[in-house]
């Protein structure tokens, strides 16, 4: 079947989609957007987190056909058109919040959704709760928390 979906602002068409296929597979294998990562395929790890109509979701659990006519924003769509990194991405780089990098795209999208919806700097408990569905197997959580706090402080002008 055919799926029409707007990704990072651009209308896209995927053909020959199998009806049981996930949005994640369509993004990575049919639309050339490998930013969202494929790991657990059961919603446990958060590596595939993308925005679907502005709401962060696990792309592995969205049936491709459910994205028909909807808007998806992936980690590739966070930087500006000119290539300037989003402040959350910059904070991850500065804080060394990236080890092997596999969980990073999902964490950045999920952290971005927290900072976008939050005025001021979220409490640590709130950050942890918001990121509870994103696993980092390099155990880099402390640096990741540093990065989220830094990005939030900068957004709040602190």
């Amino acid at each position: 079947m055919r799926v029409n979906v707007t990704v990072n602002g651009a209308p896209m068409v995927a053909d020959d989609v199998w009806p049981g296929e996930s949005l994640l597979y369509v993004l990575r294998e049919r639309l050339g957007l490998p930013g969202a990562k494929n790991a657990c395929e059961q919603g446990e790890c958060g590596s595939c987190t993308v925005y679907l109509d502005g709401v962060p979701v696990c792309a592995c659990l969205v049936a491709a056909g459910q994205a028909e006519g909807r808007e998806v924003r992936t980690v590739e769509g966070l930087a500006s058109a000119g290539g300037d990194l989003d402040p959350v991405q910059e904070a991850f780089v500065e804080c060394g919040a990236v080890q092997c990098g596999f969980c990073t795209p999902g964490l950045i999208v999920q952290a971005h959704s927290l900072i976008e919806s939050h005025d001021g700097v979220p409490a640590d408990a709130e950050i942890r709760e918001h990121l509870a569905g994103n696993l980092c197997r390099c155990t880099g959580y402390e640096k990741i928390l540093d990065a989220v706090r830094l990005a939030a402080r900068r957004k709040a002008g602190l």
Binding site: P19, E41, G43, V57, Q66, Q110, E129, A132, G133
Partner: protein, 280 residues
Amino acid sequence: MDFLRATTWAEALRMKADRPDATPVQGGTDVMVEINLDKGRPKALLDLTPVAELTEWSVESGNIRVGAGVTYTRVITELADRLPGLAQASRTVGSPQIRNRGTVAGNLGAASPAGDSHPPLLATGAIVEAESVDGVRMIPIGDFYTGVKRNALAANELIRAVHVPLRAGPQYFSKIGTRNAMVIAVCSFGIALNVAERTVGTGIGSAAPTPRRAVEAEAFLAENWSPGDPEVGRRFGELVAAAAAPIDDVRGSRDYRVHALAVMARRTLGWAWEEHRRTS
């Protein structure tokens, strides 16, 4: 496999009548896991996410009618004051990403004994609104669960909504798991006090082939209405544990579940009574 995309509720009912073998899908947090891990392959998926009617909730004669497309995130942010037990249980589901997609109706459709929605729905006496081209059926929650991952829906029926009684007193939900996110309950318990009527509702999760009430514990407390009495609380816990029929499995042992249920029942009763004393 076929992909059926319903855009209105009437169309969804017609599609389900034509294709009773189609699996309805909302958030996909159960259905897509089965497909991704090749544990099951439905003949067809019936996508209900475009059906706008399902994403609404309303107040109807003492109940909140929660549409089948209302996500856990919305139960938490929009209904916590009126359905506190269901909102607490919703907070323990998966992760933010899962709660942004998953629905109470999906939990009912999957009918896993471990589903987090079930204890508060049992404790409050919710009613499942099922519909097919033949008409609407209102199924009391106690009649809905028929076996492990089985429910009372006919092959041509879909869940339209679940009707949950408005809060009539303190409600609590408690769940045992190995961490605070992405956890399938080892066992869980929901309680709803109705102080004016001196009754209590209960719901046990993940400790029997289906979610179930602890009927004898409810009757005991109604006959011995001293929820603040430690001895009454202890006996209430024992009776809740006695109502369960857990198994040993990878998440926990039978004995642990029985013990934990007695503790959770006693504690949630204590929390509920404390809240009542504090606010009355």
